[in-house]
């Protein structure tokens, strides 16, 4: 759903479950909302709960299952947690050959295993348009929860995956992609955010989220709003997957790009030198994207060394300032 429409339909639920009545909920609906819900069990232990599923973004059933799982697992990592249990959600046609369904579930299962979790059940319904995903549960120390709310002026903004998955998968649906571009996008979607999240957490990261349907700018807006700060993003430092710029030049943006621009545009100011194609790419939804985090500037050198040692990519894309909204400069 478009961001503003989603906020509107969720409002009655916020009234039904007012935050003051549920003090154990560290992260929930409304002003508390984040990548996943967090429920404090004891002073040392909090439960993370999240759910995510979507229609196929690739043709291969195994890859589809694995991407859907990587995307669902990411919300636990974005909150600073470790994955424990997962449940399958599948809306697949009874007419699909069982081998195809097995491959989707195998893809999801192998990613949960790679994450150190276990699949303990699930639910399936008959549906003509396939959908697959997971409920994921994890744990975190209540003092180590990573939310969107902690960014401070002076922090550095980092990103852990390239952008461009959304436009490449849209171009793929229209048979416009070169195979090597598509393969790189799939590889990116299949990469767990597990190691990146652990490394960020170990260097006192102030705020963190994963970049998915609301695009880099939408998720950046959420950090800015929740933290009460302004984020300045340097467009020239944003890493794009190979091919993303080509498909932007062909203007093969998904409908979600326009929805995000409508929903978040009023909070974003672009320097006039930032090209229109780049602006649109920054509004384009991602699937199973990387982590966007605000880290203390004095920990950046250590963080870079940690990421290099773990062979994990890290891009510095901007900084946190006093103010509101997002400023995009060349």
């Amino acid at each position: 759903m478009a961001p503003d429409a989603l906020a509107q339909v969720l409002r009655p639920l916020e009234k039904m479950f007012p935050a003051e009545r549920f003090p154990q909920i560290l992260v929930g609906l409304g002003t508390l909302s984040d990548d996943a819900a967090v429920y404090k069990i004891t002073d040392e232990l909090a439960l993370i709960a999240t759910l995510d599923f979507f229609t196929p973004v690739v043709d291969d059933p195994y890859q589809y299952g694995a991407i859907a799982a990587t995307n669902a697992l990411s919300d636990v990592y974005a909150m600073g947690g470790q994955v424990t249990l997962a449940l399958n959600i599948s809306c697949l046609s009874d007419c699909l050959p069982p081998e195809i369904i097995s491959e989707i579930l195998r893809g999801g299962g192998e990613k949960v295993a790679e994450a150190g979790g276990v699949i303990v059940g699930g639910h399936s319904v008959d549906d003509k348009e396939p959908k697959y995903g997971l409920v994921v549960l994890g744990f975190v120390h209540p003092d180590r929860v990573l939310t969107k709310a902690g960014a401070q002026p002076g922090d550095t903004l980092v990103l852990t995956k390239q952008l461009g998955v959304g436009i490449i998968t849209t171009a793929f649906k229209a048979d416009q992609t070169r195979p090597e571009h598509f393969d790189a996008a799939v590889e990116s979607m299949l990469k767990l955010n597990r190691t990146a999240a652990e490394l960020l957490q170990n260097r006192d990261t102030h705020a963190c989220t994963d970049v998915t349907g609301f695009a880099l700018l939408g998720h950046a807006c959420e950090i800015a709003e929740r933290s009460g700060v302004q984020l300045r993003i340097h467009a020239d430092r944003i890493p794009f997957l190979p091919g993303a710029r080509d498909y932007a030049d062909m203007w093969l943006f998904p409908a979600g790009t326009g929805h995000n621009q409508t929903g978040y545009g009023k909070h974003v100011h672009f320097d006039s030198a930032v090209e229109e194609e780049v602006r649109q790419l920054l509004y384009t939804p991602e699937t199973s994207g990387g982590l966007l985090a605000a880290v203390p500037a004095d920990r950046l050198d250590d963080l870079r060394a940690d990421f290099a040692k773990a062979n994990e990519p890290l891009w510095v894309i901007g900084e946190v300032l006093d103010g509101t909204g997002i400023e995009v400069v060349p």
Binding site: K173, M250, L252, F253, P254, G258, H259
Partner: protein, 71 residues
Amino acid sequence: MAENVDARGLSCPQPVLMTRQALQQTGGDEVVVLVDTMTQVHNCTRIAEKLGWQANYQEKDDIYELTLRKI
């Protein structure tokens, strides 16, 4: 006589691809594109402008008629 592209009911990026194809293949200097969302209007306008055409649209009964003219 203007060439027509009916992209109603199609999702991104099909209307953009159809518009681009029509502009590249037409021998004329006017193409009319029918779409049913403002997002498609923006996207088809943008690709037309990139190819050196100018765009105007009008809305009737939730259908957008985009008139593209060679500059």
